[in-house]
Each structure stands twice: as C-alpha cells, then as structure tokens.
Amino acid sequence: MSSDATTDVPAGSAGRPDAEPPHPAPSAGPAAKPRTARPADPTAEPHAADPARPDTLPPHAADPAPAHAHLGLGRLYLRRFSRNRLAVAGAVIFALLVLFAAFGGRLTDHAYTDADFAALTQPPSGVHWFGTNQGGNDVYACAVHGLQRSLTIAVSVSVLTIVLAAVIGSGAAYFGGRTERATLAVIHFLLIVPSFLILALVSHRLAGDWRVLIVVLTVFGWMSTARVIWSVSTSLRERDYVKAAEFMGVGPLRIILRHIIPNLGSLLIVNLTLGVVATVLSETALSFLGFGVQTPDVSLGTMLADGATTVTSAPWLFAFPAGLLVLLTVSMTLIGDGLRDALDPTSATGSAGGRR
C-alpha cells in the first residue's frame, strides 16, 4: 500500500500489481518511484567502457581508473552525494528533526500528557510555545512526542520491510522455479487483497499500541518492495559474476549474501529512505482516520485529526504537526533521491542524447 496514501487512498486500496514484465508498472504512485533530483551532469559518470560495444560514446579513453583507484568507493559516493545541494539540505533538515524529537522535550517543562486546565485552546505564547489544544495539552510537547512516535514507527517499519523484502525478493529470484512461482503468487495475492482495509481492520482492533502498528504495517507493506527487488534480482541472477560464482562451487546462500544483496545495495538504501516517507504517510492516514495510534498516545497523525475540526478557529493545532510532517517527508525524499544519484551511476539515464 505504502505511498498510496499520498494520492489519498482509494477505499481498501489494493497495492498495484504491475502484472507482466512487458506490462509497465501501472502506477502513478508507488511502483515507479518518480525520480526527482538528477545529477547536474549525466555524462559525468565513471562507468567503464562497455567492452561488448567497442568505442561507445562517451569514450572512457581506455581506463577511467587511475582517477578513482585511490579514491575509496565510500568517499566517491559521499562526494557525489554532497554535490547535490538539495540532498544535503534534506540531510540537514532530517538531522535537525531527529535532534528535535530526541531532545526537544528537555526544553519545556510540560509533558504531552499534562493538561493545563487554565489554558484550553490557547494560541502560541511564551508559556506554551506552540499553544494548547482543547484538552489543555501543550502542543509543543505533543509535537515532540508525536514526531518521536512517528519517526520510530516509520524507521522501524521501513527497516523491517526492506529486510523482509530483500530476503524474500532475492531468494525467490535466485532459487527460481517452484520457490519463485509460489512467492510471486503470494505477493500477487497480497497485492489484490485491499491492504489498506485490512490494515484499518487489524489496527482498529489491535492498535492503539504503536508496536502492534509496526508489525501490522510491516506485514502488509513488504510486497511491492519485494516485487521490485525480485525483478532486479532476476537480472542479477543472470549476471556473469553470479554464474561464475556458481561454477566455482560457491553455495547459494553465500551467493545471495555476497553477490546479489550487495549489488542491490543502492536500491535497498533508496527504498529504505523512501519507505520511511511511505510509512509516515500511511501511519498518518491511519491515525487520522482513527485506526492508528490512539489516545492517550500521540502521533503526528492523531494531532492532525485533532486539529482538523478547528482549522479556522485554532489553526496552530493543525499547522505545527502538518509542518513537521511535511519537513520530515520532503527531507527524506530529498535524501533518497540524492542517494540514488550518488550510489547508482546507471540510473542517470535521463542524459539527453547520451548513451547508457
């Protein structure tokens, strides 16, 4: 389901099974993650000359190596990432948000559970920096706690999802045959099941507890990522170096761990960051509808729901959580795009006229 929530979920939205390989991912949202930032210069990629096609167009005059030989791979990635100003800005914003969630609570005496009955629905002031809500809770304290909650959920779900998806996706691709068919059938089935509805159903009953929410979001969130990983892994499986490893007698588990998953690296990292965005959006949507985190616990989604009714009369109730949310998702997206461009030279296919 993931970022379906962006375009507002159709009721009981099923994920989007992009069925056939020749059948392009039919999705405006999640499956084909739209690229945003692109490197300023598409030909500036240090990809080696394609040996099968002598004299490919930007000619990498034989050996682009010396320039990179002593520049470690990590340093190279960092350099490429830091050249993308938007990505750096995203990283800074995200770091500030994390700091705010972790230590913002120390700056105020109010706890998010405290009710100040002397100040109900007060606009921001020196005492209550972000104002108070109808119950007299300090919005600043709530926002710190809500951000903490939303971040925890988003990061854990995203990490769990990517691990699950990587193992299942690459395993299915590598082993092929019956394992692959069965896995795909399960993914396909879970994609037609209206996952948002199931999510709402399950969390309606079991949630309130954010830990349950993490489990539920993970269980119903790994499929589309697994499918992407599977389709990339099927091409990795055919790579010569994987075949070479097989012919050298390297075991299947080792091949998956040492050859397939590392070469999925950039895809996994990018999906991890974008997964955070998707989870934040899902969690917000669920909580907004009353199916996610529930009182007395607070997340940014529940704060939005609280503020929804008083948009005009008490806009601060809505504005602060909304602002934090947008900062969070936008910064994460910028980081994700920056990482994709930095880690994966071949993704810069938008080069006008340049060949891959």
Partner: protein, 694 residues
C-alpha cells in the same frame, strides 16, 4: 552464391570537390576526473563516391568523431572545429538548421540495429516519415518509395514487410532498414558507425554488401567507422587510423596495408589474427594500454608502447605530416619507417605458435561428450506460463578432449556452442547423452560433495571480463572466493592469490582494486587467474578474446598458450571468430543449429574445409589485406540462421546451403529428409564432416 568483390573503383577523383571536409574537429566530454578529450583535432576530406575508413580501438574517439560530424553529441559535450558539408559549416548551426541537413545531405547508420528503430512504428511508416521530412510527398507516394527502399536493401517481400514492426525483424534485417533510412533522401555523405559489430560474421558480409550497394546507388561519400582491419581492407579507399583522439596515419588503403608508416599501425597489423591461406604468421602483441584521455601528458600518446620511440617523442606530440609517397603520418620516424630503414616492431616478441609437440603430449581424456542433447521450453505469459514450443539448442553433440589440448567450438550465435559449454559446466545429468569429466560420468554424481569435488577440475573464463567480476568486490576477494568455496584457510588463500596474480602476470597491488579500476586486458587476466585458482584440469573459455581490443588480444593469447604448456591444461574454447581460434586451438568443431557439421585438426580445417558452412564461415571473415580481400572468391550465405524451434528434418543447413541449391532432385530429397552422417576425410585423421553433397 559466389562473387568476387569488386576492385577498387579506378575512377579518378582528381579535381572533384570534396563533399565533406573536416578541419580540426575537437570533442570533449565532462567527467568525474576532468574533461575527457575524446577527439583532439581531426581533419580530412571526403570525395564523392569514395570511402574513408576510420579505424581504431575502443576509446580512440572514432564514434565521437562520427557524432560530432552529425551534430548528434549529447548537449554536455563540447564541439569545435569545422565540418564543411558541401561547403556549409555544420559546427555552430542550431538544431533547426542542422535538421534540414541531416537525412537530406548526410545520413547515418548506427551500431546497434536492435535499439536504433522506434519500436512503435512500422518500418514502412519510419521510412515514409523520413522521406516526408525532406520531400513533399503524399502518404501513398512516400509509402511506395519506402517499399522500393526496402527492396533495394534486400528485405524479402518488401510490400508485405513494410507494415511489420521492427521487433519482427532479425538484427541483420533491422540493420538493412537502418541503412534504408540513412539513404532515403539520397544524401551526399553517409556515416556508418560500426554498422556490423553487433552482427554475426556471415550477416556482416551481407550488410557490408548492402552498404556498398547503397553507396553505389546514391553516389555518396562514405565514412565507415570500424575496429575491424579486415573490413577496412575490403571496403576503404582511404584509411585513417585513430589513436587517443587523433588521426595518427591517414593514407591510401593499399599503401597503408603494404607499408604502414606509423608504428602503431604497423603493430596493430602485426597483432591482428587472420584466416587467410598459407602459413600462419606469428602475432605480435603491442603491450601496454592506450592512455586515458584526461589530462594527457605531453608527447606522442603512443610513445610508452612504442618500440622505436625517441626521447623527442616523449616531449612533444608529433603533428600529422605528409610523408612522400605515402600519406600523412604523425610520427617523427615515419620517413625512416616508410623507406624501410626502420622496423617499428623491433624487439617485440611474437606470440609463440602452438607448440607442435602439443599434440604428442596430449594425455588422458579430460572430457568426453557423447550425444549431448539440450532443449529449452518456449513459454509465453508471465504469471501462468504455458509452453508453446521447444527450442532445440543442442542436438546430439559429441567430442573428446585430452589434457594439453585445445578444442574450439565455432559457430554463429544460436549455433548451440555456448549451451554445450554451459551444459558441461553444470555438472548434472544432461537431458540426453553423456558427459564424462576426468573419467567421472557426471550423471553418476549423487551427492553435492561429489559435485563440489568435480567442480575443482572444471572452471570457466567468461566472455565479458567486466561482467564476470562482481563490481563490488576487490580483485583479491574475487580470487579468494573459489578457494574459500573449497575450504582453504585464510593463510592458504592469501598465498595462493599472490601466486595466481603472478601466474597471469599481474602486480600484487592489483588485489586491492575494484574491477572498474582495471583495464580490459587486466580484467581478463583476473578472470583467468580466478579460473585457475582451484588447479582445474579443464578450462572452459567462452569467447575469451571477443571483448578485447586487438592490441590486447595477442597478449592474452600468449598467456593462454603459456599456461596450457606450463600447467598441462585442456581448453574448451567457444568462439565465433575463426581467425582467433586458429591461434589458440589444436582442433576445431564447427557447429550449426545445435549440430557439429565438421570437425578436425585446425590446420586441416583451414587448409581443406569440406562442409559448405565451414567454407562460408571462413570466407565471410574479412582478411586485413586489401589485395587478397578484394580478389578472393567468397561464398556469401544468404539469409540468417533459422529458428531452432523448428530445425529442418534433414540436414540442418539445408535452408542456406549453396550446394543444395545447385543439387539434383535426388540429392535435394536426401538433404531435406535425411540427417547426414559424419564422414571421415581420407588421409586426414580426425577430420570429419556431415554433408550429403560433398
């Protein structure tokens, strides 16, 4: 069909005005490491109806030159100099002005026909669109012309096929369509960028003929860009040799081949393997690698690899200058070389020919294959796959290979040679027939441990040296992997990796590098070292040289020969290039559509090819010698290999066989219905072929 290649057109071009003049063309690409100076001052004149071949290795800047002339470089590239087409300078023209010239005055044929055609339009539509861009034609008239063009470039049933989409054509047919697109508006200049590199050798011969025909029809001047000196010898009037972004020699084709005056050209010619008759001459590797085109140091870029370089060569880059009676050469010592007083190959050690005693030393049988069969299901649908046919990849292949011996499987793509190799490497019971490695029938291997033990004896070197190495693993770990897989401890692995690097002539420091930081030759050496890690008895080499440049190839051939002698290995080589095969193999098996049609000792096959397919294959390979290339009799195959889903019932070659077409009724019937058996050639032990008509 047998035809003699036409002689050079003797028509004088004196006094004619060049259709294309290029002056001081420079192309730069930005890169991580700084600007890449891909083309550094190229200039030439092209006369109408003449062919200029630009020849060079990968990265020499020849494609960038072509794109620069066409004005099709990516926007980030920098272009300067002058490109005068019929007197008009194209450099600096805007897109609109260029578009009026492209396609009308200058046409281009691209390298990869598979991706060069828009997939959603029929070829007729593509052609008529190309016509209507420059000519005021009705749809119907344009379509008619499109059909004529398709006919001209040799598409069978052009009227019917005009409505077909590009993906319904084979690679060779698509390249014909691309040629038709390029000549649609009868341009004065054609630029062809490696037009046959992506094609099989028999199809290459057809396409080059079509190109020649197209040129004759339109009278266009042709700039033919290629890395294949054989193609140059057969097609060029003038040749320009490119090295490190510049022309280093530019001369008349016969002059250039007769006496190359630039040491690089001379060395290149000495390093290229050939198939032509007579004795095999030794190959001389050039050694070293071409320079990177970022921050070139001063001096001649070839100097570090040159056997006759002077101190002056290293300080200033020599200009291209006229050498009396030869053409233009960018070498300080060109005059000495041209008058024969200096041998540019001085001190270079030739590749050792296969040791004659190699055959005698051949020991125990390492590999025995009998009646090997492999089929693939042809399926449709993605979720619910259904089988709609069977691809007969290999049908009853058998051979034997002894220690110290090299057997080459040769054939076009789709002949089943690589499938045979992979079936052997799979170490599992084959679908049909028997495979025996080092005395063990792989069908009887019953445990994973037994398979692992046998794995040590068989290893593979893959075609694409870059693809065969995990890009995220340093060389050391790539080499250590097979050793860890057989359970060596850390210390043993470290010593063995050192030995292996030394064995293939690489520096130990390379162990810390990533594959992307190695040159093509180094990568292939790493690939070979990895294959040798477990001390195998049998080495399978899948097109081990085809991804390498000529100047590097000879060195790898040298290495393989040495390793075989030192380690007593058996090589099973898969290759499409008979010229290369001649230098590495003791015996050859020619495959066609999953069957061995002829097998025998290398020299026997070259001296006396029996099967019509072998003959065609041999004659399709261009010889880098203009005199012989243009006079020899050629067997040109028509058509392309048939679909292996429905192999003919009788002889597999029947559809394309030149002998079949001339055969009598009775013989034709046999060819159609009866699989020919292997017939031995009298007086030549081990030489057998399968043909009814010979």
């Amino acid at each position: 069909m047998t035809l003699a290649t036409p002689q050079l057109d003797p028509a004088s071009h004196e006094g004619a005005r060049p259709v294309l003049s290029v002056r001081d063309l420079r192309v730069t690409f930005p890169s991580e490491a700084g600007p890449v100076q891909a083309v550094r001052g190229v200039g030439f004149d092209l006369m109408p109806g003449r062919t200029l071949c630009v020849v060079g290795e990968s990265g020499s800047g020849k494609s960038a030159t072509a794109m620069g002339i066409m004005g099709l470089l990516p926007p980030s590239a920098g272009l300067s100099g002058r490109v005068l087409l019929e007197g008009q300078d194209l450099v600096g023209l805007d897109d609109r002005a260029l578009s009026r010239i492209r396609g009308r005055s200058i046409g281009m044929v691209f390298q990869d026909p598979l991706s060069a055609l828009t997939p959603i339009y029929s070829v007729g539509r593509l052609l008529s669109d190309a016509l209507r861009v420059h000519q005021d034609l009705t749809r119907r008239a344009a379509w008619e012309q499109a059909v004529q063009l398709l006919d001209l470039v040799g598409i069978p049933d052009p009227r019917g096929r005009a409505a077909a989409f590009p993906h319904e054509f084979s690679g060779g047919m698509r390249q014909r369509v691309v040629i038709a697109l390029a000549i649609a508006n009868r341009p004065a200049v054609l630029v062809a960028d490696e037009p046959t590199t992506a094609l099989d050798v028999t199809v290459q011969a057809q396409i080059l003929d079509v190109l020649r025909l197209a040129q004759r029809e339109t009278g266009a001047g042709l700039v033919l860009i290629t890395h294949d000196l054989g193609v140059v010898a057969g097609h060029a009037d003038d040749v320009a040799v490119m090295y490190a972004g510049r022309f280093v020699e530019h001369a008349d084709v016969t002059e250039l081949f007769r006496r190359p005056a630039m040491p690089y050209t001379a060395r290149l010619l000495a390093a290229v393997p050939t198939v032509d008759g007579g004795t095999r001459r030794p190959l001389v590797p050039i050694g070293g690698e071409p320079p990177a085109l970022v921050d070139l140091p001063g001096g001649c870029p070839f100097a570090p690899r040159c056997a006759v370089a002077l101190d002056a060569c290293r300080t200033a880059e020599p200009e291209l200058r006229q050498v009396p009676g030869h053409g233009e050469v960018a070498c300080l010592r060109a005059t000495e070389i041209a008058d024969g007083s200096l041998d540019p190959k001085r001190d270079a050690a030739p590749v050792e020919p296969r040791s004659p005693e190699g055959r005698a030393a051949a020991g125990e049988v390492v590999l025995r294959v009998e009646d090997l069969v492999k089929t693939f299901p042809i399926t449709k649908g993605a979720v619910l796959k259904r089988r709609i046919g069977t691809l007969h990849a290999v049908g009853g292949v058998g051979f034997e290979l002894r220690a110290g011996e090299t057997l080459a499987l040769v054939g076009e793509s789709g002949s089943g040679k690589t499938t045979t190799l992979l079936e052997i490497l799979r170490l599992a019971r084959p679908e049909g027939g028997r495979i025996e490695i080092a005395g063990t029938d792989v069908g009887t291997l019953d445990s994973a441990a037994a398979v692992r033990r046998l794995r040590r004896d068989v290893q593979i070197v893959m075609q694409d040296p870059l693809g065969a190495l995990d890009p995220r693993m340093p060389v050391f770990h790539s080499l250590a992997e097979p050793l860890r897989a057989i359970g060596r401890d850390r210390a043993a692995v470290r010593t063995r990796v050192g030995e292996l690097l030394a064995l293939v002539g690489l520096d130990a420091a390379i162990g810390d590098r990533f594959p992307a930081a190695l040159s093509g030759g180094q990568r292939q050496r790493v690939g070979i070292a990895r294959a040798l890690a477990t001390e195998p008895k049998l080495l399978a080499l899948d097109e081990p040289l085809s991804a390498l440049d000529v100047s590097v190839q000879a060195g790898v051939i040298n290495l393989l020969t040495r390793l075989k002698r030192e380690l007593g290995l058996a090589y099973l080589v898969v290759a499409h290039d008979l010229a290369v095969v001649r230098y590495v193999s003791d015996r050859i098996a020619v495959m066609y559509l999953g069957h061995i049609v002829e097998t025998g000792d290398t020299e026997a096959i070259f001296a006396d090819p029996r099967h019509p397919y072998t003959r065609a294959l041999l004659s399709a390979i261009p010889i880098p010698d203009p005199g012989r290339e243009r006079t020899r009799e050629r067997v040109v195959l028509t058509g392309e290999p048939p679909n292996a889903a429905r192999p003919p019932e009788g002889c597999v070659f029947v559809d394309r066989c030149p002998l079949y077409r001339e055969a009598g009724e009775e013989l034709k019937r046999r060819c159609r219905t009866e699989r020919p058996a292997q017939t031995a050639v009298p007086g030549s032990p081990g030489h057998r072929y399968a043909c009814h008509a010979v």
